[in-house]
């Protein structure tokens, strides 16, 4: 190709330039947003909303029980369910990675079944079917044991898949290095692979914790005593007592009280782990 002295003539585009198009597009997006806010603010009946959801005296009457009883139970159900799920999920994940065929199949079947069923059905199953099928058996811990088991069974299926993915995400060289140092496969798994896998799966595991936190509301299908009520049940009971929805709003805020800080903590941990592994 030869260089020519005359500069090439840029073809003139018809209509708007790229820059003009971009500013028009941004303007439209802001306009839609502002319009939506205005419509919402004007059309909602604020007085009735406040009357129904934000009665200060009703909210006041909920304290301290909403924290010391309801939130405490919600946390307790979630933590025990998470512990059961984590332990069971770990076992199932290792079975899924086993070289023994039947273990793999069994784990696969478990995961498919418990991931496919609504958590509600599992609660009903634990609450109704198990006592019917095995009369006289008592799940240890009463309601608390049943909730831990039901939440754990559901969570285990999800966690097993997460843990398996985490283990497989650890580079193959790590296992080779451990084996070449004389670690047995089991010891290499426990000392080297699983600690690294957990760093990788910390965010999805916490996500699972948040899901369980919300699923713990299903405990009401097991039939609970007054002392065993958690946030949702407590809020609903109070709402029907007072014929006002304020307790629902307060219960909802209590959930956020836990889930939002949890999100912060996880992001901090992620950043720290990133720093160490980077």
């Amino acid at each position: 190709m030869t260089d020519t002295a005359t500069p090439e003539v840029q073809p003139k585009k018809k209509g708007l330039t790229r820059r003009q198009k971009r500013s028009v597009s941004r303007g439209v997006q802001y306009a839609v947003f502002v319009a939506a806010v205005i419509v919402f603010a004007v059309s909602a009946d604020w007085d009735r909303l406040q009357n129904q959801f934000a009665q200060a005296d009703i909210a006041e009457r909920m304290f301290p029980d909403v924290i010391t009883l309801a939130l405490k139970n919600t946390v307790l159900y979630t933590v025990t369910g998470f512990a059961v799920g984590l332990a069971l999920g770990m076992v199932i994940a290792l079975m899924r990675l086993s070289s023994v065929g039947p273990y793999r199949w069994l784990a696969g079947i478990y995961i498919e079944i418990f991931r496919g069923l609504p958590a509600l059905l599992i609660f009903i199953f634990i609450g109704v079917a198990v006592p019917l099928a095995f009369p006289g058996t008592e799940i240890i811990g009463g309601t608390y044991g049943k909730v831990a088991l039901a939440l754990g069974l559901v969570a285990a299926a999800y966690m097993a898949e997460t843990i398996r993915a985490g283990i497989q995400a650890v580079p193959k060289g790590q296992m080779e290095a451990a084996r070449s140092l004389g670690f047995s496969p089991a010891r290499a798994m426990i000392s080297i692979i699983i600690p690294q896998a957990f760093r990788i799966i910390l965010p999805p595991l916490t996500n699972e914790l948040v899901l369980l936190f919300k699923d713990s509301s299903l405990v009401l299908f097991l039939g609970v005593t007054l002392e065993e009520r958690e946030l949702s049940k407590y809020g609903r009971d109070l709402a029907s007592q007072t014929a006002n929805s304020t307790p629902i709003l307060v219960a909802g805020l209590c959930y956020l009280l836990v889930t939002i800080p949890l999100g912060f903590v996880v992001r901090r941990m992620e950043a720290k782990a990133q720093e160490a592994v980077k």
Binding site: P171, A177, L181, G182, F183, V277
Partner: protein, 263 residues
């Protein structure tokens, strides 16, 4: 002569239909340093990985220190404690500090107590010249430093044999020297070493023997002056000329997809 430290007999290894090793016989004496060279795909890394059974041989036997590793009843974890291995990609444990990388295997595998493991770790870090990095995480080290830590980690287990799988191939050129210096020190101390490498200078100066592999067999085996300095086989000569002076290589039939275009 006493029994060789490493002995490989009629070793075959296939991955599916792909036969990577086609009958290898090799003996390495105590204190001997043997460099294995050869083009990529020649099976040299696979051979090394068969020596500590990271790869299961398809056929043949491997002995280290008189113990047959290929015996299905042998306690492979016990034998591996006597064989140190250094990888191309270092494979340090990223979730542990440098010191913990050295102490954890001693404590879990050798059951040494905390104080003894820490002492051995400190000694070996000093040997590779990285005492000041004891508390650092691997990610904060350069490749050369990581590889020296990996060597120290293997040494902390008190191995009788060290295997090196292309230990400098993943390093920036200016960092290769530090790692080779540590390996040279080990060789001078009388460690039995099997080194898969492309570092011809190292092979020439440090190795007692050089083994040239191609196509899954040992083509040439002898002292460095002979194998590198005056190779008897065409394949060795050809490989060395390409390695020592890559710019002078000519385009060959079948070596590249772009043969047709290159002319």
């Amino acid at each position: 002569m006493s029994r060789p430290e490493i002995e490989v007999r009629a070793l075959h290894k296939s991955f599916g239909a792909n036969e990577v090793l086609r009958g290898i016989d090799l003996e390495i004496g105590r204190g001997e340093v043997v460099c294995v060279i050869g083009p990529s795909g020649s099976g040299k890394s696979t051979l090394l990985r068969c020596v500590n059974l990271l790869e299961e041989p398809t056929k043949g036997q491997v002995f280290v220190g008189g113990t047959e590793l290929t015996d299905p009843d042998v306690d492979i974890d016990a034998v591996r404690r006597r064989i140190g291995m250094v990888f191309q990609q270092f494979n340090l444990f990223p979730h542990l500090t440098v010191t913990e990388n050295l102490t954890l295997p001693q404590r879990r595998v050798l059951r040494r107590d905390k104080a003894a493991a820490a002492k051995v770790a400190a000694e070996n870090l000093a040997r590779v010249g990285l005492s000041e990095k004891a508390a650092a995480y691997p990610s904060s080290l350069s490749g050369g430093q990581q590889q020296r830590v990996a060597i120290a980690r293997a040494l902390a287990m008190g191995p009788e044999v060290m295997l090196f799988d292309e230990p400098t191939s993943a390093l920036d050129p200016e960092l290769v020297g530090d790692v080779l210096a540590v390996m040279r020190m080990l060789a001078d101390e009388g460690m039995t070493m099997m080194v898969v490498t492309h570092e011809m200078t190292f092979a020439r100066e440090v190795a007692d023997r050089v083994v040239f592999m191609d196509g899954g067999v040992i083509v040439e085996d002898g002292v460095p002056e002979q194998v590198i300095g005056n190779p008897r086989h065409d394949r060795t000569r050809h490989f060395l000329s390409r390695l020592l002076d890559p710019a002078m290589a000519e385009v060959e039939e079948g070596t590249s997809d772009q043969v047709g275009k290159a002319d």
